[in-house]
Symmetry: C2
Subunit: 202 residues, 2 copies
Amino acid sequence: MSPGGRRPGNADTRAEIIAAARLVFADQGYEKASLRAVARTAGVDAALVHHYFDGKSDLFVAAMALPFDPRTVKNEYHGEEPMPYLGEATVEGFLTMWDLAEGTGSSFASCVAAMAANPSVADAMREFVNERVWSVTRGADEDDQTFWHRRALMSSALMGLAFTRYILRVPPISTATPKEIAGWAGPTLTRFRTEAAPEETD
Amino acid sequence: MSPGGRRPGNADTRAEIIAAARLVFADQGYEKASLRAVARTAGVDAALVHHYFDGKSDLFVAAMALPFDPRTVKNEYHGEEPMPYLGEATVEGFLTMWDLAEGTGSSFASCVAAMAANPSVADAMREFVNERVWSVTRGADEDDQTFWHRRALMSSALMGLAFTRYILRVPPISTATPKEIAGWAGPTLTRFRTEAAPEETD
């Protein structure tokens, strides 16, 4: 390696691309950000970004240190009618993922701290979740308004459980297993997914 | 006023007591913290703390820049059987309170940032809410385990709505009125308050 030069396979290059991606996502949000802008910010060729990352969502997961691969979401939903116990499965999967991340640099608290301190980080996260997670769970029966209404309520229920478990640490939500919590709160998520409607008021 | 001296009525003294209270609550949590320890940390007489603040919860509200007076909670609940639309009233009141705080130094995002960055701040907040807010809502039918189980689930639902409204800003939760959101999520809170039981699994 020439002194100060950047080459494919250099671990520093990957870290520099991730650092550049954080700047670009915070500045432009998830939807508007491009791999080309990240490459430009990092001072590398766009092909090098593609060498390290399998597309924009992969880069976002690395930039935000998210503990999961959003590509797994599709497999759980199949894009068909909601499974029985859909809410339970979603709660258990969501909390298990964050449980595994505790104590690492990608804990729920560190993601929340980044979002609370910087609205543009929160915006990028929302756009990412909408585009890469929720959009693949759309049911055939859901028009746009119903779809986003339901996903907002589901997001709220999931974020509330994680916030109470990892940040406020309120027992028994902080001490139970993800499966137990799924038993308590899963039915609410299922109701939000299958019954909530924008005009509903009771 | 003598140069550098502290006197009752000095606005600086109040600010110094609040700064000292932040240190003491973060160090000792809400339950263990005493007004005497705050006075000692601020370098003032304990009587002066009482002069400015009507007890520990009043001081905590000021120290955390919370946008509400927890003493109002009791009036809404009466300590009796749950009102009809208890969940709706709780959701609407909670979000209205934080709506009014937006743009001030006591926004929901600033409270969350403090809690996410410092676990001891989150611990103090949990102890405060348990002791000053939830404990006055105990129903005659609730044993300890059921009571805390229900309050943890209610906390989770409220925190999730506020997080989705003020930080993730997911429409329609970020754009609807507190009353509309209460219509969507209030029934869940009522269910948690009246039906949730520790052994419930569906």
